[in-house]
Amino acid sequence: MNNLETRPPESSAAATPEDLTRHDPTEPPQHEVPLNLYEKRKGVFPQKIDGKFRRFKWLVMLITLGIYYITPWLRWDRGPYAPDQAVLIDLAHRRFYMFGIEIWPHEFYFVAGLLIMAGIGLFVVTSAVGRAWCGYSCPQTVWTDLFQHVDRLIDGDRNAQIRLAKAPLSPSKFFRRTFKYAIYLFIGFWTGGAWIMYFADAPTLVRDFWSGEAAPTAYITVAVLTLTTVGLGGFMREQVCIYMCPWPRIQSAMLDEKSLLVTYKDWRGEKRGSVKKAAKNPETYGDCIDCHQCVAVCPTGIDIREGPQVGCITCALCIDACDRVMAEVGRPRGLIDYATLEDCEREAAGEEPRPVWKTLLHPRTIAYFSIWAAIGLGLLFALGNRDHTDISVAQDRNPPYVMLSDGSVRNAYTVKLRNMESRPRDMRIALEGLPQGVMWTDAMGREDAASTLIQRMPADATQAFRVYVVQPADVAKDEFTFTVTSLDKQAETDSNEARFNAPE
């Protein structure tokens, strides 16, 4: 108890009756609402809007959903030994097909590389055009947009939706809600249904699915994805973007004064006031007429005029809304616009806005793009140079060698050949660096032993077989190489170091 001196006087351990209430006269009374860290969800009912960004969003939605739903149905001829689905993740056979590319499990680094590219691609996009991914092509955004259209279709526009949300449950509201949720489920079901098509032959799977013959995994996957789609897109919506998704946080760290943001130009808009007030006092009031259209159309329910914030996915619908209002009141467009903070300052100071390419091309975008392109080129190079023939050798360790009755020494190996072509191929295995050695497999006899073997490899397969290598009695331990050569016009080769054990 040597810290008596440092103890603040009011927290004396000897509590007196006066302490029980502990009122600091300078503090406000305790029954005042304390600071609450929990933000209760406010309903978001975005209003219908049309404009160039809205039309662009339609286009992006059409393209992304089109890619998602159509891709599994594209066909790609790979000959009789491989599936003809253009994009197929064949988990059962451990193959990943993407048009002309076939990836084996040991080449998973290509997939890892693609994921890294996707990550750095997001960096490129963010440093150049801000949160364009969030605003236009993120699945959460696209599906939320889809569900919000359904809301408007069934419940009407913003005001009708608000009224309905406040109304007590009536038969008509019950019917509307049931109908709407049925559509939600339908969308969710088709989302999950399309997903499983990537993992099996789509036409076969559809037939099996509806006849009840598909694997339980297929039904479970569809059920889970139906629920997550409806849950995330139908109900959680902007909550996912604001609270669940890590990407907005990462992006906030990557944004700077050179990043393109949806920005309210406060130097132009403030002080807000109606057209009438502005007409009376043109000096006091700015261009913003405080009509709240930007708030009404926002799919995440924020007010962009409060400045850049994590809730803004830069979908630019408020730009459409504001541009339309500005046109109506006869003021120049772009009160809310894509702009960098740097340019905002410049414009506020009365300078000319910079051309768009200058905004996009700055050192950071160029650096990210170079990294992204370098990885892409590296992957392409690796893809072009990869071999479709592979050999790997594992030596028997117990026993390390076997003495035969004629005094010769035999070693045994498990040789694995890999034929990555979608056709059967003959392959020649040879012993290099073992001039006296001959070999045979367990499928043949020692009488057929030779220094090279020819093995018929099935299409798209790995096969292991036992190989015996024998050398005369007087040999010592030695290193040598198994080589394989494909006997076709590709004449691919691969080799694997091995060791020949012999008695000391």
Binding site: P34, L404, R446
Partner: protein, 304 residues
């Protein structure tokens, strides 16, 4: 002390009322979802201990209402595993062992099954890699005492070698030439030199050759090539079951050697024995079964 509860202004949370050197603790209750999960776990645990064996009693634990036991579960899983092998075992039971190589699929299955059975029954003497040791033959090489085709291996497995009281067991007995006074120790040395000379490890000597012809050739053959009927090893090759040094050979001639292998037909089922034979045959030294080639017609008749 407990009466010291107050509302902490910045967070709006009540304190627990304790204070240690000016440090107070906020009374933040557990999240409700956590609490309900906890209660649900308690309810689940009570149900679990009723349904499954749980409470320790004097002699054993409570049985549980579902009557589940881990023994039973193991038995079921083992039965299921056996069932899945049923087709292969039935096919193996039907096929004569010497015809097994014709069905490469079945052969592969038999070798795999044999590898597992070998690890349980045979590694104690023959070693994990079947390489044997002094007195225990190496099964990887092409030197066989009693024959290395599938049928001969199966016979050895079924009836064993020098199995005491084994009626059909492989049997032979080399006399203890030195210990029983058949040969003098000088003669033993001479014949040992002759034996070693057969594989070029020593100089030939006429006396030794004569002793060999008189005493050893009956079983080992005039050239020392051995005879499989007696399990008499080939003395001309570099493979020595009991060591190939001069001392080793002298010891063998003096005291004789005979290893024993149990008969497995009473311990293992015929299918497992076939699998073991297939595995041993597959180790690299297996010989072809010649009789089949000599009279294929009879075999085909037997099969049908």
């Amino acid at each position: 002390m407990m009466a010291n509860k107050r509302i902490d202004k910045p967070t709006g949370t009540e304190t627990v009322g304790h204070e240690w050197d000016g440090i107070e603790e906020l009374n933040t209750p557990l999240p409700r979802w956590w609490l309900w999960t906890f209660y649900a776990c308690i309810v689940f645990a009570i149900g679990y201990t009723i349904a499954y064996p749980a409470w320790p009693m004097v002699n054993s634990a409570t049985k549980g209402m579902l009557g589940w036991t881990s023994h039973e579960q193991l038995a079921k899983e083992m039965a299921k595993a056996d069932e899945s092998k049923g087709a292969i075992r039935a096919a193996l039971a039907k096929i004569p062992i010497e015809r097994l190589p014709e069905d490469s699929e079945l052969m592969r299955a038999a070798v795999a099954g044999g590898r597992a059975a070998f690890k349980v029954n045979c590694v104690q003497c023959h070693g994990a890699g079947a390489a044997g040791s002094k007195g225990y033959p190496n099964l990887n090489d092409d030197d066989w005492l009693w024959g290395g085709d599938l049928k001969a291996i199966t016979y050895t497995l079924e009836h064993g070698v020098r199995q005491p009281d084994g009626e059909d067991t492989r049997f032979s007995m080399m006399p203890a030439f030195g210990a029983d006074g058949i040969l003098t120790s000088a003669q033993v040395s001479q014949v040992a030199d002759h034996v070693l000379s057969l594989s070029g490890k020593a100089k030939d000597n006429a006396a030794g050759a004569q002793i060999f012809a008189d005493n050893c050739a009956v079983c080992h053959g005039p050239n020392g090539k051995g005879m499989r009927e007696f399990g008499a090893p080939n003395l001309t090759d570099p493979i020595w079951l009991y060591g190939g040094s001069r001392e080793d050979v002298i010891a063998t001639v003096t005291n004789s050697r005979y290893g024993v292998m149990p008969a497995w037909k009473d311990r293992l089922d015929p299918v497992t024995i076939k699998m073991l034979a297939a595995y041993v045959h597959s180790l690299g030294g297996g010989e072809d079964f010649v009789e089949v080639a000599e009279d294929p017609a009879t075999e085909v008749d037997e099969q049908s």
